[in-house]
């Protein structure tokens, strides 16, 4: 949506990629643009053409679950918001008949004379983000797909559960339309399966299956759901908690391979075999196949044209230490084409790719862009002219709340001169309508009753600015989250509440005033805290983009945890890479390295931070003050040391990290090893999964087998989480004779000493009997804990998760930003993750941090506290309470008065609520406005009471 509004993004849709010539900084890309047969400038997206078009067309957007017409738009919020004609089924384009749409279109937008166009683009760099492809139907057919209508893919199921989808969110069986009472999910369809040549794990299916299962449970709490899996791979940050939630809601997880899905009376019968090699059957109404992510359909074509190499699965080939670099210089990859991944990982890589491209083109920065200008703000006039816009949000709101009633209820309200409803207020065409209505009715205040201001207020504020209004003249009412969602079963009450909220908002906006926009200059430097791989990568990335940074490391040397590793799972030598990285950091003129450093203080706000860094020890101890515009947190983590399994008590019990160093040093492997996964993780000391331990165990097991092929290696695990291409190494280890045995949480392995021998006793879930081994060594996979995040969190007022990792601003869409402006996070400080993800995240954090540095100025939020110095009694209560030091006491005419430092103010309102003389007002939240809101709520209720009486 936001991309559709930027003057610096040109969207070329219906485009085929034909060629790429040249070199970094000077590429020529050849494209062919297929016609839409609709003139984008004239199309108003009214939808009349689709209503009249006589031909049916399978709706690809809805996974073929619905029909549309050859002339259509995929969904209401689509960008660009222009309809298009699919030439494959249009009667005119196929048979030169019909053309009924041409006279129907009121805006004369249909143009069958459009021809394909070729276009050459001169570009400095290329980012490949073609996404992923679909698993072939042959693989799906093994599970009854196409043979029985009630076997669906997970993406079809997703469309089914969607409120704006073809079934309005109703889950039903295709065979007879009944609501399923028993649903099965089959995991790893087209993943971890050499049968379809997809040896890798698709990394996302476990998560979306849990999500879809939870949504199905929400729709119908009585539905029974079973998920058949090999390993549940919820390794991401906070992901295990969702799995727990699913289990608590009664969703069953069964570790089993499904062999077959066959029709059985009116139902489907699953044949599956469990660990103990027992075959069982179960009956279901609906079977959902959790399909994996395939490489993009045209991967080979793209690779050939772009001149890049692919890996054995036709994904883009990259290396651990340069996860986004393709084999052709100047061509960068991001997203699922680099390997299956979820949304936050894709978003992170996208930001990182943007940063890398920017690093290649620093000389041309700012030359090709246009700056958006807004019309001059109009004078508001004295008359209050309010427009109310009520949104259906498809059926998200409309199915529960009576939207037309809510809209009509505003008709007689004081100041309301215009009111309307719309299907999706956030769509591009609705924004145009909003702009138009503001002008047409001379509106000077706007109420939008829709979804959350958290996600959509910036969009509407932008539209207000475009229409020449101050962006503070809007009030959003959240009738979705706060009405239709929470009161889904009480439509009348939800409608009443919506009316109440809208009436209160109208009362509030009457008192709205334009608030001035302020900007403050930015110091174009960064403070990077932590000199491990994340911090060094971030500092280098900033330096490539031309920005100075202070890189502070608390230890004596740069390197962090990478110094404790020997090789990567892919076999790269980490020591060589580390040395190269440290050299580059040391050589960069823009990076100032300070070791044995401690942050003595940090103050300020985005663009204008000032820190005091103490460094050195003894006589060399000194303090420096550093002014900077942004902060990158890369404070890292360390191996957890649980007081379990005799770690620290018996020297034959070591951690994976210790084993790796031992193997590298001695070049000798023990004869027998038992590895215990999740030692202290996922429930004992640490509630979470550390994401890297399974890979680490596989890497060390393979190393032992390489050094000593006869060695006996047993890995006791809960779920092997070798996601993505690491699955190959896991398979290699199994084939190489490493024995993997799952254990049950209720029956954890025991490690004990008997004489001089070390023993491990565990229940073998495959043989179904208790075993006792006496290995040379027991190796624990111990997990990762963050370091120093608590102190920094206090200093920066940046929130942490329960596990003491930094909490990102938005888990999906803002994965490297914190809620405090100008502060970014990467590496283990954000959560446990492997090297390649840490590097991409560090590059992403650097790219995000560079944005305000490039801009050179930041705008201060206009909602700040304002002191009325006339009535201020100078008590100083506000200054003492302000958590951001944003109020100072000044002398005005020799009297003590409070004054706000606008740039530091976070608009929390503590000062205003404590002021004994009511002298502090928060912009847009003045006492008068709040009182008016309360009166508007209570007034009607009083009247109702009177009527009843």
């Amino acid at each position: 949506m936001e991309a559709g509004r930027s003057p610096n993004i040109k969207m070329l849709t219906n485009a085929d990629f034909l060629g790429l010539e040249g070199k970094p900084g000077d590429f020529t890309a050849k494209l062919r643009l297929r016609p839409r047969y609709i003139d984008a400038d004239n199309c108003t997206a009214c939808g009349l053409c689709t209503q009249y078009c006589p031909r049916h067309h399978v709706d690809k957007y809805n996974e073929g679950l619905a029909m549309t017409r050859p002339i259509h738009i995929d969904y209401a919020q689509a960008v660009p918001a222009t309809y298009y004609i699919d030439p494959g089924s249009c009667l005119y384009l196929q048979h030169e008949t019909c053309q009924i749409c041409v006279p129907v279109c009121q805006s004369h937008a249909i143009d069958f004379s459009q021809q394909p166009e070729e276009l050459d683009l001169k570009v400095g760099a290329v980012i490949l983000s073609p996404g992923f492809g679909k698993i072939g139907e042959k693989t799906l057919e093994q599970f009854g797909y196409n043979k029985h209508p009630d076997v669906v893919t997970s993406i079809e199921f997703e469309r089914m559960t969607t409120a704006s989808g073809p079934f309005q969110g109703e889950i039903k069986c295709f065979s007879d339309g009944r609501h399923p009472k028993r649903i099965a999910f089959i995991q790893c369809v087209g993943s971890r399966d050499l049968g379809c040549d997809n040896g890798y794990c698709s990394s996302v299916c476990c998560m979306y299956s849990i999500k879809e299962a939870l949504v199905a449970k929400e729709h119908d709490p009585s539905v029974e759901i079973t998920i058949y899996y090999m390993d549940i791979r919820t390794q991401g940050k906070e992901f295990d908690k969702a799995r727990q939630r699913a289990e608590n809601m009664g969703i069953k997880f069964v570790r089993a391979k499904v062999a077959d899905v066959t029709p059985w009376k009116n139902n489907l019968r699953l044949t599956y075999s469990t660990l103990e090699a027992r075959h069982s059957f179960a009956e279901f109404d609906l079977v959902v196949l959790s399909v994996g992510l395939e490489s993009p359909k045209d991967a080979q074509g793209i690779a050939k044209i772009a001149g890049i190499e692919l890996n054995r699965y036709d994904f883009c080939k990259t290396e651990t230490f340069s996860p986004l670099t393709t084999s052709r210089e100047g061509v960068i990859v991001a997203g699922a084409f680099q390997g299956p991944k979820d949304i936050p990982e894709s978003v992170t890589q996208a930001s990182a790719a943007a940063g890398l491209a920017a690093g290649l083109l620093t000389k041309q920065r700012g030359q090709g862009v246009v700056h958006k200008s807004y019309p001059e703000e109009q004078e508001m006039g004295d008359e209050v002219r309010i427009g109310v816009f009520v949104c259906h949000c498809g059926i998200n709101i409309g199915a529960v709340v009576n939207v037309p009633q809510v809209e009509q209820s505003t008709a007689d309200m004081e100041g309301v001169v215009y009111h309307t409803d719309s299907l999706y207020s956030c769509s591009q065409d609705a924004q145009e309508v909003l702009k138009q209505k503001i002008k047409e009715h001379n509106l000077n205040r706007v109420v939008i009753a829709a979804c959350s201001p958290r996600t959509h207020e910036p969009l509407f504020q932008e539209t207000l600015k475009d229409a020449g209004l101050n962006r503070n003249l809007i009030e959003m009412v959240n009738i979705r989250d706060q009405c239709s969602w929470v009161h889904a079963t009480e439509p009348d009450a939800a409608t009443d509440k919506s009316k109440d909220l809208v009436r209160m908002a109208v009362a509030k906006v009457r008192g709205m005033k334009s608030l001035p926009e302020q900007t403050v200059p930015v110091t174009p430097k960064a403070l990077v805290i932590g000199g491990g791989i994340a911090g060094m990568t971030a500092a280098l990335s900033l330096s490539d983009q031309g920005f100075e940074s202070l890189l502070m490391e608390k230890g004596k040397a740069l390197g962090g945890n990478l110094g404790l590793l020997n090789t990567t799972l892919a076999g790269d030598e980490s020591a060589d890479y580390l040395k190269g990285l440290v050299d580059r950091v040391r050589k960069s003129k823009l990076i100032h390295v300070v070791t044995e450093a401690e942050l003595a203080s940090l103050s300020g706000f985005i663009g204008n931070f000032s820190s005091v860094v103490a460094s050195g020890s003894g006589a060399k101890k000194k303090e420096i003050t550093f002014d900077h515009g942004v902060v990158v947190l890369a404070t890292g983590g360390r191996e957890h040391r649980p007081d379990l399994y005799l770690l620290g008590k018996n020297n034959k019990v070591v951690t994976q990290q210790e084993l790796e160093l031992q193997l590298a040093k001695t070049k000798k492997a023990p004869e027998s090893v038992v590895m215990i996964q999740c030692a202290g993780s996922r429930g004992d000391d640490l509630s979470y999964c550390s994401k890297v331990c399974c890979n680490h165990a596989v890497k060390n097991a393979l190393k032992i087998k390489e050094l000593n092929p006869d060695a006996q290696v047993v890995v006791l695990y809960r779920d092997m989480r070798t996601y993505g291409f690491a699955e190959d190494a896991y398979r290699e280890a199994r084939l190489g004779g490493v024995v993997f045995i799952p254990y049950d949480v209720a029956r954890k392995p025991e490690v004990y000493e008997k004489g001089k021998k070390l023993h491990v006793r565990f229940f073998d879930t495959i043989l179904q009997e208790e075993l006792d081994l006496a290995p040379d060594q027991v190796v624990l996979s111990v997990g990762i804990v963050p370091e120093g995040t608590q102190e920094l969190s206090k200093l920066l007022k940046a929130p942490l998760t329960d596990e003491k990792f930094f909490l990102e601003a938005h888990v999906k869409l803002r994965p490297v930003e914190l809620s405090v402006d100008g502060v970014y996070v990467c590496g283990l400080a954000h959560g446990p993750k492997p090297l390649d993800e840490t590097i991409a995240q560090a590059q992403a954090a650097a790219a995000k941090a560079a944005i305000p540095l490039v801009k050179g100025a930041v705008s201060v939020a206009p909602i700040v506290s304002v002191v009325d110095q006339e009535s201020c009694i100078g008590c100083g209560l506000c200054a003492s309470l302000c958590p951001y030091q944003a109020i100072e006491m000044v002398k005005v005419d020799n009297k003590r008065k409070a004054q706000t430092i606008a740039a530091s103010c976070k608009a929390c309102g503590i000062c205003a609520s404590h002021c004994p003389s009511f002298s502090i007002a928060m912009g847009s939240f003045t006492n008068e406005q709040i009182n008016a809101q309360i009166a508007a709520f209570g007034g009607v209720r009083e009247k109702e009471k009177a009527e009843v009486a």
């Binding site: 610096n8 040109k10 999500k211």
Partner: protein, 62 residues
């Protein structure tokens, strides 16, 4: 068939208008570059636009 040519200093071409392509495009404009966002379909948004809710918070994906 028409033929055209476009040149903007330091422009970046992004192939694929899904969530990764869109995010990269937004960040690049923030960093001071012009972007061509090239998509083979008629709309941008990719697969994320097909999703109802997102894991693990079940937020809306549009």
């Amino acid at each position: 068939m028409g033929k055209g040519m476009e040149h903007k200093a330091g422009a970046v071409m992004i192939l694929g208008g899904g969530i990764a392509g869109i995010q990269a495009a937004l960040d690049l404009t923030g960093l001071g570059y012009f972007v061509y966002l090239v998509e083979k379909e008629a709309v941008v948004g990719g697969v994320m636009a097909q999703l109802d809710k997102t894991f693990p918070t079940n937020d809306c994906s549009l």
